[in-house]
Amino acid sequence: MFGTHYRIERKSVILAVAIMIVASIGGLIEIAPLFTIDDTVETDPDMRVYTPLELAGRNIYIREGCYACHSQMIRTLQDEVERYGPYSLAVESKYDHPMLWGSKRTGPDLARIGGKYSDQWHTAHLTNPRDVVPQSIMPRYGWLGRAQLHTAHLGDDLRAMRAVGVPYTDAMIANAAADAVAQASPDDDTAGLVERYGEETQVRTFDGDRRTVSEMDALVAYLQILGKLSKAAEQPAKAVAAAATAPAAAEGGQARP
């Protein structure tokens, strides 16, 4: 063994090739099967895609580095399920390029934040968290409400997402900019948007200001959809969805967030 090495270490190219081979094995065996083993990602035919406004919000979430403090991955542990809701499934992030599971919880998990608070609250909280939660150590994001959302090129974003496997249609791509504006303008004609993205599309004045579509609109629209793209995690049979303080009470509510 040491004798062989004694020879290998005299040849730089052989040494380099040996390093590459030895180092490649682990990744190949762990990553490649994730594409071939069927039950890696659950199937959910009803899964919907991010609307252009939500995608724009997601990009703001990325840009501001929210993932540095917030996870979006509820682990299969009792305390997490009881605090945040049903554990996260792989399918829930199957359109997430990239995923935002996070690695640090300076703030709470956000995987199921959609619908938990009001748009008003999110806007106030993002503008200055200490206005609503005096103890909070989260940064202020006041500029989001002042910045107009750039919608002109959202079609490019949808097209790139389609290139990596998200099923956006031509109509979605063509109408991306208009759909983004429509989602934050409930007084306008939103029929096209709803037709393309489904009945449950949330059309609201997220930041409370009807006149403009701000970055705040986009980010709040994104936060309000978290955990709602797929209902797979709530299916009671799947596990814990029906857990509550008392088992008898289970029919009424899904989980104990």
């Binding site: 065996i29 762990e30 490649a32 099967p33 071939t36 083993i37 069927d38 299969t76 542990l77 009792q78 399920v81 009881e82 605090r83 809701g85 554990y87 709470p108 619908g115 938990k116 608070y117 009001s118 748009d119 008003q120 609250w121 106030a124 909280h125 206005d131 609503v132 939660v133 005096p134 103890q135 949330q202 609201r204 799947k238 596990a239 814990v240 857990a243 509550a244 303080t245 008392a246 088992p247 008898a248 009470a249 289970a250 009424g252 509510g253 899904q254 989980a255 104990r256 967030p257």
Partner: protein, 290 residues
């Protein structure tokens, strides 16, 4: 004993590998092999080895959560079955309510109503005994279940304070006068030197506001319209806040929890709030259980 090489003065001894190294390597490898045999471990094309224990983290947590709920059932079911007054009379159950309520409130409600439930600008105080929608346990439970102005609940309570100024129902002057009048309801000193404006506001109020806030401004718990004569304000009692309310209107949204919290959890929250309110009134808030 060196290997005989030298690199810019660095030599290497040819010391044999200590026994301990082999020992620990073997121990960790054996541990790993054992673990692979017992647990899901190696991929096989389109499936993987499941392991002798058949361990599945999803099933495990489902069982854990279920078992924990069963363990709690001893007291939780009693709370679910009893009516509010009975529970409140039972110190043992109330101890559970305080323990569970603190966490439930902290993780779900504190963001708006504050960690101590005393509210925040735009979000009402829940322990001052002054209720927008009524202070009976059932009224509170209903608010928590269906929310107020919730976009998702079909039965939500609806609260609309119109934008009298912005929508052109009142002139700017009238808004100002009404604000002065409203302010004077809880702060009689305010009327000093502003008698004309307050009198004018009184007229506007009678014409526009009594439908919801009542002739005396005492509010209506049917409509969730607040009492304007006390000093408990949702949005603040300074003249600017009052003016802003009349000018721009308010539609405070309280989320509906019917899909996020179980009925038992909601009941515990109601009990927790009533208990906290009482404790506060008794001046014992400081010593309240954490």
């Amino acid at each position: 004993m060196t290997t005989g090489h030298e690199w810019n003065g660095i030599k290497e001894l040819n010391t044999p590998v200590p026994r301990a190294v082999w020992f620990f390597l073997i121990v960790t490898v054996i541990f790993s092999i054992g673990y692979w045999v017992l647990m899901p471990a190696w991929p096989l094309g389109d499936s993987y080895t499941r392991g002798l224990l058949g361990s599945d983290q999803k099933e495990i947590v489902a069982r854990r959560v279920e078992a924990a709920a069963e363990e709690r059932a001893a007291w939780a079911q009693r709370i679910a079955a009893m009516d509010y007054a009975e529970v409140r009379a039972d110190p043992a159950l109330m101890a559970h309510v305080r323990e569970d309520g603190h966490r439930l409130f902290g993780d779900n409600c504190a963001a708006c109503h504050g960690m101590d439930a005393t509210g925040n600008s735009g979000f009402p105080n829940l322990v001052d005994g002054d209720w927008l929608w009524g202070g009976s346990p059932d009224a509170i439970a209903r608010t928590i279940t269906v929310g107020v102005n919730s976009p998702v609940s079909k039965d939500t309570r609806v609260s609309q304070m119109m934008a009298f100024g912005k929508d052109g129902i009142l002139t700017g002057e009238e808004v100002m006068a009404t604000a002065d009048y409203v302010k004077s309801l809880s702060d009689p000193g305010w009327a000093k030197g502003k008698a004309a404006s307050v009198a004018r506001g009184k007229g506007v109020f009678a014409a526009n506001c009594v439908a919801c806030h009542g002739p005396q401004g005492k509010g209506s718990q049917e409509l969730g319209a607040p009492d304007l004569t006390d000093r408990n304000w949702i949005y603040g009692g300074d003249i600017d806040a009052i003016h802003a309310t009349i000018e721009n209107g308010r539609q405070g949204e309280m989320p509906a929890w019917e899909h996020r919290l179980s009925p038992a959890d909601r009941k515990i929250l109601v009990l927790y709030l009533l208990d906290r309110g009482e404790a506060l009134k008794a001046g014992a808030a400081k010593g309240a259980p954490r």
